[in-house]
């Protein structure tokens, strides 16, 4: 991992299109501003990891969904519109 030291309001460029700026530091928290192209997803890493774990679990779905369909039909409570 590349480690750089930056002061408040200083920034880092990643490639030609991404800029990360330190906006402020208070206590143990750092506020970071990120400028990136719209099609570059920017997310908190723990959120991405939670979705990766959920995908992993979901990918082990059973072959036969018939029982699932019946279970859903019997117990599904969609929200009222």
């Amino acid at each position: 991992m590349l480690v750089l030291t930056r002061k408040v309001e200083e920034s880092i460029s990643i490639g030609n299109n991404v800029t990360v700026t330190v906006l402020g530091i208070r206590g143990g928290q750092v506020r970071i501003g990120i400028e990136a192209p719209r099609d570059t997803p920017v997310n908190r890493t723990e959120v991405v990891e939670s979705i990766a774990r959920q995908n992993e679990e979901a990918s082990r779905a059973p072959r036969d969904l018939d029982q699932l369909k019946d279970t859903l039909a019997a117990g599904f409570r969609p929200e009222k519109t």
Binding site: R38, P41, I51, N55, A58, S59, P62, R63, D66, G75
Partner: protein
């Protein structure tokens, strides 16, 4: 025609234009980029997103608007904010269903990370609805 090997459905034969490219793969599965959408059964709320490359990789999908009427209907494939309006040209939106082994009554839907598919260009992407308040384990059946 293309032939796809699957562990759940055996070998399936499809028109080549049924392939959907996920340029970045699914989150956690960046290597697998080609999928096909398969119907479960007529009248079923479920669909399958089957990998064309990994026979055992498939996801169960459901229309999230069946679960939450206020779920966003327009989720741009290439950034921008999700909105509630309807537009026929907008990409299709699906939630991935997780089925705990032996406990189908505890199935959940991932509303935080929907799958968005542009039927026109046949490309797809898993999008994260950051700060939306939706979660990865929304119970489908209320106890």
């Amino acid at each position: 025609m293309i032939h796809i090997q699957t562990t759940r459905f055996g070998e399936i034969e499809l028109e080549e234009n049924r392939l959907i490219l996920f340029p970045e793969g699914m989150i956690g599965f960046p290597q697998m980029k080609n999928y096909v959408l398969l119907e479960h059964k007529p009248g079923s709320p479920f669909m399958w997103l089957q990998s064309a490359e990994a026979p055992d990789l498939a996801f169960v999908l459901i229309n999230p608007h069946l679960i939450r009427s206020d779920y966003p209907r327009q989720i741009p494939l290439h950034g921008g904010s999700p909105t509630a309006g309807e537009d026929d040209r907008e990409p299709l939106v699906f939630a991935i269903v997780t089925i705990p082994p032996g406990e189908p009554g505890k199935m959940t839907a991932n509303l935080l990370g929907p799958v968005v598919i542009d039927a026109g260009t046949r490309t797809g992407k898993q999008v994260i609805l950051a700060d939306s308040g939706f979660d990865t384990r929304h119970q489908l059946i209320q106890e």
